[in-house]
């Protein structure tokens, strides 16, 4: 029997493919991690400190101020960071950073939308930290994972 020119086996294959690509079937488990240069000294940061750091507040470890680098190379990694670490929307976060910089002085954390530039600055500055997917971090040379920020399923 054929329907619309397709035989039964073909229809079954289509149904299976649809199921596999449906939202309920596909959800990757990904981890967002904090990374730094491999030449950096050992670093321990709590969740609160990490949040303060990326909110533009000074965090000093071993006499060195930690410099946060914001990874906006993909929208997903940036939104996960905002939702899981900052608990704000992008507009509100950037506005808070600007206001804080004007009020308290200092510089806003640098935001990078180019991964090459981000990684180069990260490697050159032993006091710098940023966030990225764990699988990306494991592929990159000369950087090390400080701590896991979040892990969960993403569709």
């Amino acid at each position: 029997m054929s329907i619309l020119g397709l035989h039964k086996p073909s229809w079954l294959l289509l149904i299976v493919l649809w199921l596999l690509t449906s939202s309920t079937a596909f959800a990757d488990t990904r981890s967002l991690v904090l990374v730094t240069s491999e030449t950096s000294p050992a670093l321990e940061l709590s969740g609160k400190e990490i949040r303060w750091l990326f909110m533009g507040l000074p965090v000093v470890k071993a006499g060195q101020r930690i410099e946060p680098l914001i990874n906006a190379t993909t929208p997903l990694v940036y939104e996960v960071f905002l939702q899981k670490v900052i608990y704000m929307s992008a507009q509100n976060y950037e506005r808070r950073l600007v206001v804080r910089a004007f009020r308290l002085g200092g510089r806003r954390p640098e935001k990078y939308d180019n991964q090459v530039t981000l990684l180069r600055n990260l490697r050159e500055n032993p006091n710098a930290v940023t966030f990225m997917w764990q699988d990306d971090a494991q592929r990159q040379a000369k950087i090390k994972i400080v701590t896991e920020l979040w892990s969960g399923k993403i569709k």
């Binding site: 939202s23 309920t24 959800a27 709590s46 969740g47 609160k48 929208p75 997903l76 939104e79 996960v80 905002l82 939702q83 900052i86 608990y87 704000m88 929307s89 992008a90 507009q91 509100n92 969960g152 399923k153 993403i154 569709k155």
Partner: protein, 543 residues
């Protein structure tokens, strides 16, 4: 194809007007730019709503997590979850402890799988799911709070904004189109007024002013310039009119007639003097050929002149000297006309202009003078000059036609006595009577001339000796009869000498001499007439 032509015609008519072009341009611009603008606004509004929504849930979800305390028992936790669910914006809530124990609200029991969202509208379930770690007093996480925020309200806001935006855009489009139409009508009203006034001026109504009120600088400047131009045209027209009136007055008051024609002779204009000369009104002549004003006798020459002129382009008829032709009046009377023709070029075409003079009086005076120069004033007979001229012509004709001709010379007998007795008045009257009688016995082709005093000459072309003698005898008979001059009966006689051509000479002087000699012989011998060179027996008519 028909529809295509109709659409093309409509487009052409629309784009043919300023209003149409303005509206069409505005429509095109809006059709191009309005979707961009509206789309950009919609995007920004949507982004704003979504960001606001995400901001809210990301900032409130940690607060909800703080409501959960590690030391609470499950009923308390359920109550806390119920409170969270009753907040209105949360549509799903569950708590998962570290030992994977799920605690849910008692108000809702959704079995849908929880997938955390990081973007608005992710997963397409109209619910934004978020997980928050619940921490105890020491800051250590002990559970995960899962919340589901409904996106429907935000979606409804976005949708309502879309529709409002579309309605407002459509209203803006309609209103702007309407405004453009109104503005273009206002704008073009002044231009239309300018056009109407210009059209009236073009039709000769130079008195129409450009009374256009406008605040548009360029149009106002145009109106000022056009008004200045109109005043200049009006001034020029007045000058031209005055000049025309002046020239027309000069032409109309000329004593001579002035007629202008085209190169084919069609009359284009005529002045009052010409009307009076020919007896026509101007409307009776204008448009007709000038040949109607020329007599038949002169028309051949006129036609020849015109033909030569049109063929060669050389205006032979144009000259400084006047020509004499015979004109023809309206009543058919022919009269002598003096014409001086000149040619001019007007607007690239040839125009002939003629100045005409009625020379009837001059011709009559001329004829009178000529008559006086060739005729005897007393008897009106040809005088010696004319007589000799006619004698010449008679001899030439006789020679050509091989004919005889006769010349008679007459002398009146006893004329001196009449003068002496009665005076010159009687003598003059007698001479006039003699002249009349002589003409009664001669033919019309004969010439009776008075060459002096009481001497007469008679030319008889075509006459031989017998004919001449017969005429002589008739003359003798008629002269012999008494003349009644002012109550006096006077009797005279005449002596006639006859000379014949070619017998007695072939030239004037020879014939005259023979005739004169014959006359004297007739007078001496008291003969009535004497034929020159003849026997005396033939001349036996005594007086």
């Amino acid at each position: 194809m028909v529809w295509k032509n109709k659409i093309t015609a409509v487009c052409n008519s629309i784009c043919g007007t300023l209003t149409g072009r303005l509206v069409a341009g505005m429509v095109i611009i809006h059709l191009l730019l309005l979707p961009l603008l509206v789309g950009a606004v919609f995007y920004l509004v949507k982004e704003g709503y979504e960001t606001q929504f995400i901001e809210h849930l990301r900032s409130t979800s940690p607060l909800y997590a703080q409501m959960i305390r590690a030391e609470d028992e499950e009923p308390v936790l359920v109550a806390s979850l119920d409170e969270i669910l009753l907040s209105g914006q949360v549509t799903f809530v569950e708590l998962e402890t570290l030992d994977n124990r799920l605690i849910r609200s008692s108000l809702e029991n959704s079995e849908e799988a929880f997938n955390e969202d990081f973007f608005f509208g992710q997963n397409g379930d109209q619910t934004y799911n978020i997980e928050v770690l619940v921490q105890d007093a020491d800051g250590d996480p002990f559970a995960t709070l899962r919340l589901g925020y409904s996106e429907q309200m935000t979606l409804r806001h976005i949708e309502r904004t879309y529709w409002n935006g579309i309605v407002i855009s459509a209203g803006y489009f309609i209103l702007s189109t309407l405004f453009v139409v109104i503005i273009s009508i206002i704008l073009t009203r002044s231009i239309r007024q300018i056009g109407e006034t210009s059209q009236a001026i073009a039709q000769g109504e130079l008195e129409q002013t450009f009374a256009v009120q406008t605040n548009i600088g360029e149009v106002s400047q145009l109106v000022d310039n056009l008004e200045r131009m109109r005043m200049t045209l009006l001034q020029d027209r007045q000058e031209i009119h005055d000049r025309e009136v002046r020239i027309q007055a000069i032409v109309d008051n000329m004593a001579e007639g002035v007629i202008s024609t085209d190169e084919h002779g069609v009359v284009e204009s005529i002045n009052q003097a010409a009307e009076q000369i020919f007896g026509y009104r101007s409307d009776e002549i204008i448009g007709n050929n000038i040949a109607m004003l020329i007599s038949e006798s002169s028309r051949v020459n006129y036609d020849e002149y015109v033909r030569d002129y049109l063929c060669s382009g050389i205006a032979k008829i144009t000259c400084l000297d006047a020509l004499e032709v015979m004109g023809r009046r309206k009543d058919g009377q022919n009269f002598p006309l003096e014409v001086a023709v000149s040619e001019l070029t007007l607007g690239g075409r040839r125009v002939l202009s003629g100045i005409l003079r009625d020379i009837t009086e001059q011709a009559a005076q001329k004829a009178q003078l000529e008559h006086q120069a060739t005729h005897d004033g007393l008897t009106c007979l040809p005088n010696r000059t004319l007589c000799l001229d006619r004698l010449q012509q008679m001899l030439a004709r006789s020679q050509r036609d091989q004919l005889n001709s006769a010349l008679m010379m007459l002398d009146l007998n006893l004329f001196k006595n009449v003068n002496d007795t009665y005076g010159h008045h009687y003598g003059d009257a007698l001479l006039k009577a003699v002249a009349e009688r002589l003409q009664t016995v001669t033919r019309g082709s004969d010439t009776v001339a008075r060459i002096g005093g009481d001497e007469f000459v008679i030319l008889l072309p075509g006459q031989n000796d017998e004919g001449a003698i017969s005429v002589a005898e008739n003359i003798l008979d008629i002269i012999r009869k008494p003349f009644n001059i002012m109550g006096q009966s006077l009797k005279i006689g005449t002596s006639i000498g006859i000379a014949l051509y070619p017998q007695h000479g072939e030239d004037e002087s020879c014939l005259m001499r023979h005739a004169d000699e014959a006359m004297y012989k007739a007078k001496r011998q008291h003969l009535g007439y004497y034929l020159s060179g003849s026997d005396e027996k033939l001349n036996n008519k005594s007086v």
